[in-house]
Amino acid sequence: MSWTLDQFLQALRLLGSLDADVYRAVAVSLGVASASTVLAAAAGLPLGLTLGLARFRGKRLLTTVLHALMAVPTVLIGLVFYAVLSRQGLLGGWRLLYTRSAIVLGQCVLALPLVTALAHAATEGLDPRVRRTARTLGAGRWRTARTLLSEGRRSYLAAGVAAFGRVFGEVGISMMLGGNIRAYTRTVTTAIALETAKGEVALGLALGIVLMVVALGMNLVFLRLHGRGDRT
């Protein structure tokens, strides 16, 4: 008990003396997670919208597959991309392995099914009259999509927030595709893994606190976006 308490107290004390390496890891985490969230949302929102509106054979099967894909473990995504991005691999010439871009790629794939499934659910949850009314008023396809996105903005934003949370907290992809290179691909989560392996429990806990504080901060930003959406 006293040991555990001691580690937590030490972690709190360490928060006051975090060095530049920690801030760099926070910056890397934020950078790659934001990039992959934006890219996954750019692809996943239209996909989910289409899936929610379109009617075609095999739609239920596709939806089921999509939901299953949400369970793909990060270590498997990391492994597949390792096989592809290694110099020996299919896209070895791109020289992406052990770069931040490689992490972004892997995290995109991790977040895409989540964004698509949530956007799909959000679209199906919309009042069908919105679409019909828009069409009746002569809105084209793009205009209708924009209307629907605007109408369901809370849910679509929530899909993005969920995706950000998923990629910001993952460690498998960052470790396998980033390589945990100090000041370059070391994220907060891989730093926690490293400190844990070194037995630096208090420092690992301190990094965990930093991670949660940053996640909270990002969600407050999202909440603000959310609030602005309400006023119009």
Partner: protein, 303 residues
């Protein structure tokens, strides 16, 4: 609608910032050796040695060294695939095979420390009384005492398997735990399980104050643990940073690099003894060695 526009502007700005940041991938310094990918073992990075050894090199040669720390087996596999420019590892047999198969060029001996058999204070297997390292392991197996193995094809794991083979034992059973993690994590697990464990002395010393395990067997020549540095063969992988790799090899085997290695201490203890330059071994390293930290120094085993 305006809110959506606002969100788009924010997201667009974020995207632009992130793209700017992502596209700055591995920027090679305008002059200098560029980015050098060093695949190495957890023991060299976890101990903190590379934090002392690399920054002066990077400053002087305008290089950026990206350290990827994994087990020796994986480090060599990365190098084989051209995913690293240079490796710093400790598994002489595997290194020889690596070079003979044409994957590496310019192997140099760098430093040596030694392996120690750690165990709980009670020493239930009586490993401390063994005649040789293999005997000590045999005693652990015979007593059915818990043993934590790296199980990850690292240099330490390779050495451990060689010792089991020497003892004529195929370790298996509930007492034999294959951890599959780095040295530090394995030590922590062994400590929790009150298990025996083969460790390099560097990691043990670096973590000594966090664990209760103590050295149960040490000091025979078979436990010597030499580290070598090898450049990836540029004939196999034309786009590796061969010049950078050779410069790094030059640095760690130079008198300056060797002096940094020999002068590196954790808790007042010398962790690695330089072996590349004969004089460096009798320099700062030899002065500060405590009797416990001195490994059996045989001739450097450079090829």
């Amino acid at each position: 609608m305006r809110s959506i526009a606002y969100a788009l502007v924010v997201i667009g700005g974020l995207l632009a910032a992130v793209l700017g940041f992502s596209c700055g991938e591995a920027p090679p310094p305008p002059e200098g050796l560029g980015t050098i990918r060093l695949a190495t073992t957890t023991s060299t990075e976890n101990s903190g040695l590379l934090d002392k050894l690399l920054p002066p090199f990077e400053a002087r040669f305008g290089a950026e060294v990206h350290v990827i720390s994994v087990g020796t087996g994986r480090a060599l596999a990365l190098a084989r695939n051209g995913d690293a420019d240079v490796v710093l590892v400790h598994a002489p047999a595997a290194e020889t095979a690596f070079v003979e198969a044409g994957h590496g060029a310019g192997r140099r001996a760098v430093m040596v420390n030694d392996f120690v058999l750690l165990g709980p204070a009670e020493d239930p297997a009586g490993a401390a009384k063994a005649e040789s390292a293999a005997d000590a392991l045999a005693a652990v197996a015979k007593a059915g005492a818990t043993f934590a193995s790296r199980g990850d094809d690292s240099g330490t794991h390779k050495k451990e398997r060689a010792l089991w083979a020497e003892a004529g034992i195929q370790p298996a059973g509930a007492w034999y735990l294959e951890v599959g993690q780095g040295m530090g994590a394995t030590l922590l697990l062994a400590d929790e399980k009150r298990a025996y464990c083969l460790s390099d002395r560097g990691t043990y010393l670096a973590m000594r104050d966090k664990i209760h395990l103590a050295v149960r067997f040490e000091g025979t020549p078979v436990l010597r643990n030499p580290y070598s540095i090898i450049a990836v063969n540029p004939a196999r992988h034309p786009d590796v940073n061969y010049a950078g790799a050779m410069a790094l090899i030059g640095w760690v085997t130079s008198p300056e690099g060797q002096a940094i290695i020999g002068g590196f201490r954790v808790g007042g203890q010398v962790l690695f003894h330089p072996t590349a330059v004969p004089d460096a071994a009798t320099g700062p390293a030899a002065k500060g060695t405590s009797p416990q930290a001195a490994p059996p120094l045989a001739a450097p085993d450079a090829p």
